[in-house]
Symmetry: C2
Subunit: 203 residues, 2 copies
DNA sequence: CTATTTTGTGTACGACGTAAGCTTACAACG
DNA sequence: CGTTGTAAGCTTACGTCGTACACAAAATAG
């Protein structure tokens, strides 16, 4: 339906692209937050009327979903084929977390709009391979990966959802960041160690 | 500021209460979802004009925050003083998850609006005691508890955020429910086992 | 030049959150 | 009893949102 065949040539030339729209959406998100990401603002930023966006995406929610997919792609890592799965899993967690903290206003979005499932599997293929190489059944591998992913997302939600004025940050940001870093590491270590014990640590 | 002193007697008698409002909000949430929870609808359901609600709560967000606190209180458990902490932790996770799945439309809300911190600590006091009884430092206990809480929330987000038509549910709901149950158990077991190994399982 | 096709625009509608000022229904006091 | 004070609820109104619909503009194909 949308963006069907780019049958080039005919018709008024497009000043808008799905990609340009998504990029602008993420910029607004990062700069001003989710509430500021309105169709009108997005249009203004692209030098276009709000309604023009609807030629490329069916509604606001589709803009958000596209932004989610784009952001998730930022979290991919490439893994040396020699990396054992527990380390690969931890590296994925770090990378995912880094992406989330790099776009704090987008975290509630990622939490609410699950990434497209096929895209997700594609992006995680390299990680899945590390499990397969250790002879771990695909289902068990997916469980471990998803459990970690879910932990990382939940943790990021807690971190960005707590206005930095509140409790645990006695002083400035540095202390709060350290607090969350340590917490993150501890939970991640526990979970990975638990799976390691259950699945055998490879080869 | 709001609901200051219920200096009874004077003035027009109140047909509205904070509690009645919060209860109605949760009913709407459960029945029709977050988007349906508007001030006008909430007013209608209580037989009152939308603006009347503002006598009791400063704005819509306060309604949501109050609903969050109320829901979280549903998840408390009381623990036998003999329960070892790993079991207590797992029971908390189950209880928390049960509450979340009992209010699927509220899950994104819980994800976005962190529960009031003092209320949270109060509700978790019993659980914290189980760690203290095993001689585990408070900070380590909090890390473990919060890690589990964050995992549970993330998992619930994944479960309720995936429209049941999509991938893993080959048949109906039962299969999907079983899928998520098994995943949940596996991740939880891994994390609790990991903390057990790290903290010692309590003399 | 005309027809066709695609993209962007203008206008309009209904719903939202909520600010401001008004009305209503009580208790207290004379 | 009437008057007054006060808290609760109501009416109206404003600005903003997403988006349906009909139209204008800008290119190519014949």
């Amino acid at each position: 339906m949308n963006e069907p065949a780019p049958r080039r040539g005919r018709g008024r030339p497009a000043v808008l692209t799905r990609e340009r729209i998504v990029a602008a959406a993420i910029e607004i998100l990062d700069a001003e937050g989710l509430d500021a990401l309105t169709m009108r603002r997005l249009g203004t930023r692209l030098g276009v009327a709000a309604m023009s966006l609807y030629r490329h995406l069916p509604n606001r929610d589709a803009v958000l979903a596209a932004a989610v997919d784009h952001l998730f792609a930022e979290a991919v890592i490439d893994l040396d084929a020699a990396t054992p799965w527990p380390e690969a899993l931890a590296r994925f967690a770090d990378s995912y977390r880094r992406m989330l903290l790099g776009h704090p206003h987008a975290v509630p979005l990622l939490a609410t709009h699950p990434v497209d499932i096929d895209l997700g599997l594609e992006l995680l293929a390299g990680l899945l391979d590390r499990f397969e190489a250790a002879g771990i059944p695909r289902q068990a591998a997916l469980t471990a990966i998803q459990s970690v992913a879910v932990y990382v997302l939940g943790h990021a939600l807690a971190q960005v959802g707590t206005p930095p004025g509140t409790r645990p940050a006695a002083e400035g940001d540095a202390a709060a960041v350290a607090f969350y870093d340590q917490w993150f590491e501890a939970g991640l270590r526990a979970m990975v160690a638990g799976f390691e014990r259950e699945l055998g640590q490879g080869h």
